[in-house]
Amino acid sequence: MADTTPTKRLRQTPLKSPPNTPIPLTPQTLASPRRSLRFISSPAHSIPPANTPVNPKPTRSKSAVTLNNNNNKKLYGNDSIKDDDDDVIYTFSPISPDRTETKKKRKSKAENTVDRVNARVSETKIKIKANTKTKRRVYYKKVSYDGGEFSIGDDVYVKRREDDSIEDEPEIEECRVCFKVGRGVMIECDDCLGGFHLRCLKPPLRAVPDGDWICGYCEGRKLGKDVKLPEAPEGKKVRRTAKEKLLSSDLWAVRIESLWKETDGSFWFRGRWYVIPEETAAGRQPHNLKRELYRTNDFADNEMETVLRHCYVMSPNEYAKAENEGDDVFLCEYEYDVNWHSFKRIAEIDNDEDEDEDATHDDDWSGDEEDSDAELSDDMEYEEEEDRYTAARGSTPAREAAANSRKGFTFGLQKIGTKRIPEHVRSHKQTELEKAKATLLLATLPKSLPCRNKEMEEITAFIKGAICDDQCLGRCLYIHGVPGTGKTMSVLAVMRSLWSEVDAGIVKPYSFVEINGLKLAAPENIYRVIYEALTGHRVSWKKALNLLNDKFSNGAISSKDDDRPCILLIDELDLLVTRNQSVLYNILDWPTKPNSKLIVIGIANTMDLPEKLLPRISSRMGIQRLCFAPYNYLQLQEIIGCRLKGIDAFEKQAIEFASRKVAAVSGDARRALEICRRAAELADYRVKSSTSLPKTGKSLVGMSEVEAAIQEMFQAPHIQVMKSCSKLSKIFLAAMVHELYKTGMSETTFEKLAQTVSCLCTNNGITFPGWDTLLRIGCKLGESRILLCESGASHRLQKLQLNFPSDDVSFALKDSKELPWLTKYM
């Protein structure tokens, strides 16, 4: 399959640089640190590399990754990539008339693009008819065009006007003071992004300062002064870089989503626009960075002709690491919805690749609706895809589908987004304690997973052993351990590392299905979920069972991708136990079939689950088991320490105390993390609520906070409640204890108790409140489960029992000030 072979690339045609494509050879800027530290040496020193700005490696490999994922998860063919390499001749069609139109229309929203698509489609339709369907669109993953190599997922500048002169496109910007290029080190202002020679500054700088640097002009402007920028010398045209043009909306930036060759030989791409903050409904917000862009959900098809060159739009993480991509680096953290004018963070690729993929493809194809009619026969490869997304078609606002049902699923969620990005999210500087809190969250995935290396190796060996041999016999692994010992996390981590091996071509591709027993409405639904995950079709569970039986036991192969091994991870396996245990039997029976290629990994808490099952099931479950023992305190300490690396917020003993305490009780890593997080929260609360304290003092989380957090987590608050309850309730409880000591029976009736209470009252000079009041008090105590009692309707026959040990009660009541005599009776 093509996922192991690299994507076919168009041969680089010898650059004969036709006259109507005047993009100059863009000399690559030397590796220059981006922001403040931009050393730009004179162009004379810069060695122009071969002829094209080399496509940055990461982009390419990323596209390969997405390709693989497409194959594995969605099982639609990558046959969309046609391999007609060597015979591509660049025919540069004249600039199509509708291109300028597009650009004008870009301001107006999505419906226009659809119109445009229509126009184009009708055009192609005619052509198709003329050509008697011999020619068709050819899709590529990568196109070498006009000296540049463009692949799907790349970000490029797009010309805004047809006459955009690009000859004088400077790759290096001029100094703002002397208006000359080169000659010495330049520094970039973090506010206006202007470049300055170090020696042109007043006073001149010797070296590039660390951290942010703001030029004198911006500083002056901030102070409210009237600042005059130095004017360019007479006759010299101020040239602007592509970046500046983009930020003043004279250029567009676009992300290439697909590339194809039209029937007439011209190259087209479908792009996803980026916008600058000024172009959004909310305008530029105070926390926006200068180089910030928003990704939109607006698509348009354009000819490759309009592409200027590469730019690099990065996520905040990449942006922070980026150093030598030159001037064309932009930051993009949010997606902007052009219909709803709302913002949404872009989900991180690592976590939810598949969903992300889904989303983009969805948008992709809903735009192409009309295409399918025209080119039904042509685009056979996409037919399946179309099927899947017919439901999504309903997502035009006219036919609104309910958001919580499956059909409208893709629609409703786009609506969610903030109108403005809240300021505190972006411009808030985290304190150490807040950092600690964030990193201790259960939801944050740690960079490394300590203490489970042995188990992870075992899992890896198991999976590799199962899928690597050509036979690929089905196997089964049972993993057990108490909650919070990293069972699911380890399996998923193994899966992640295997993915990268698949990408590297070491391991054969496989499909992976993850199911949680507790999240199924009924055990039988698991068939449906498995079938849907494998094929994308939704059927009833009975039908799914039949189909899966066909697939696994009889080896019926429905499509060509079907023969890859399938790994099934079932979390909370014990929830699948039904009365006759047929679900578990079926699932564990499939791996034993010769052609199944199914690997089952079951996870549950109890060690003896197989023994509790019917013998025919436990024998199928096999002997391969893996136990996740509870963490001991050293391991817990390591886990916490690993997360808190580099953050100075905890005292060392505090962590040790927490981990020892948890290890003694359960060995649950989640508990340990939560205790530490709670302790950090308490410390943070203390710091923030005490306004009198000077902020300078460093606040570490100490023993007292951890102690308080442990108290809160492990102790029932009954003693406090007993201490603060009403006087008669205390007497009631004392009478309960007294009764217990007198009779030795834990259970008593209300009648007996009332007699004891009245006895206590008369002996100590308190008026007896009356039976009904006493009954009410008893019921109240029962409500908060200090007592266990029957309902009050049975009155004097009501049975009562203490829910906590009598020692707790005596402890709580022993030094009550209003009733000092209570101790006598306990």
Binding site: L442, A443, L518, R671, R785
Partner: protein
């Protein structure tokens, strides 16, 4: 003029007594109060994008929901458009399926989406998880309030599991707040659910004596800067201060708080006191509080006994005599036999027929002074064994307070 002031003042007082926000705003200023602790936890989830789950525990009537509402209202004002609140009640939604549907419905309403009633459990749970994710990406916090939390912790606890599991795996921003009066609510959670729960607990306790004093003044003293007549307000306030300082008043409040010192009980007491105000004079008196106390501390069983007819009392006395003779189980017929012996030995003037007695017996059953001991339904009333639900001393007290009770009757009882 004065009358209008009185009406307005009464209106104001009643309004205050029903306004939980007004009541609990007294306690919200100090950093040790549950209000500020809760606000810190929820707002840190909003600003720092973290997930939390916490329990609000405490006896009924201590203001768990009231404080929570206060916090949520303030936060909604502070961060408009960034918090959506989903409220569930264990009494209404303890079934996982219907709880999830309700969550989906409220999410749809909150975000103006279409909601379909027929969506399945899977659809709804996927929708919820997708929504949590999207809301997290859009910096929106979802707050789940689960009232009567203990009732959610029944059965397989699918809802809690999927909620808490979503919070530890998805990049979401959510707070799950469980509210329960059961102190052991977190022990009810299943192991794997408990492991995912963050175990923050806030304990709500009934207020101390001085807090109640503060509350009293906060509520009863009329504001001087309102449109009420000035003289009236100063007069009213000085009288209230006098009453509050009065020893007899302190006795009354002590009596009240001795049995139940929660805020809700105290408010009920004040409300009935305010309702007793004589609208002619327009001022609160000590008498008002006294009568309020007596209306609050009713003794329903004793009141019941007061209204019983002589025959009904006879029947109960007979049952008591049987019990004294250590006859454990008895039914109507054996009670009738006892009734006959009393009649014979004391030669009372009135003897009622079997049917009349049966009618009286049924009355007793209706008032729950007497109860069937078994659950059998196929027997007729006469033969089913019954139990007396009030104790002997209560019966004694009731006989004494009953006006129509003859003296000879008491004698029989004294045996």
């Amino acid at each position: 003029m004065v009358e209008r002031s009185v009406d307005e003042a009464l209106l104001l007082l009643r309004k205050r007594l029903c306004d939980l926000h007004f009541i609990f705003s007294v306690f919200s200023d100090s950093p040790d109060s549950n209000y500020s602790k809760l606000k810190f936890i929820v707002s840190s989830s909003v600003t720092e994008a973290c997930n939390n789950s916490l329990l609000l525990l405490g006896p009924r009537g201590c203001g768990k929901i009231a404080v929570l509402d206060l916090v949520l209202e303030d936060l909604l004002k502070e961060y408009p458009d960034m918090i959506s609140v989903i409220k569930l009640n264990g009494l209404l939604h303890c079934d996982d399926n219907c709880a999830l549907k309700e969550i989906a419905r409220q999410l749809c309403i909150e975000h103006e989406l279409m909601f379909s009633k027929v969506a399945s459990y899977d659809d709804n749970s996927q929708f919820m998880i997708a929504m949590l994710r999207e809301c997290g990406l859009a910096h929106k916090t979802v707050v789940f309030v689960l009232d009567e939390f203990d009732l959610f912790a029944q059965g397989k606890q699918r809802l809690l599991y999927s909620l808490l599991d979503a919070m530890q795996s998805v990049s979401s921003q959510a707070v799950v707040i469980g509210v329960s009066c059961r102190l052991d609510a977190d022990q009810l959670l299943e192991k794997r659910v408990r492991s995912r729960f963050s175990h923050r607990k806030l304990l709500f306790l009934p207020p101390q004596k001085d807090d109640l004093q503060r509350l009293l003044k906060h509520i009863l003293l009329l504001p001087t800067d309102s449109n009420l007549s000035r003289d009236y307000v100063t007069d009213f306030n000085s009288r209230i201060s006098n009453i509050i300082a009065d020893k007899r008043f302190i006795e009354i409040t002590d009596k009240l708080t001795d049995s139940d010192c929660t805020v809700s009980n105290f408010m009920r007491f004040l409300f009935s006191a305010v309702s007793c105000i004589d609208s002619k004079s327009g001022y609160m008196t000590l008498e008002n509080f006294k009568s309020a106390l007596s209306t609050i501390q009713r003794q329903p069983k004793l009141d019941c006994l007061k209204d019983c007819s002589i025959l009904e009392l006879y029947i109960m006395v007979c049952m008591k005599r049987l019990e004294v003779k250590e006859q454990e189980s008895y039914n109507f017929n054996s009670v009738m036999k006892e009734y006959k012996t009393i009649h014979d030995s004391f030669k009372t003037s009135d003897y009622y027929s079997h049917n009349v007695c049966l009618r009286a017996f049924e009355h007793l059953l209706d008032r729950q002074l007497v109860e069937f001991a078994d659950r059998g339904h196929n027997q007729c009333i006469e033969y089913r064994s019954v139990k007396l639900l009030i104790s002997h001393s209560e019966l004694h007290q009731g006989l004494k307070s009953n006006r129509s009770c003859p003296v000879s009757y008491l004698k029989t009882c004294m045996i």
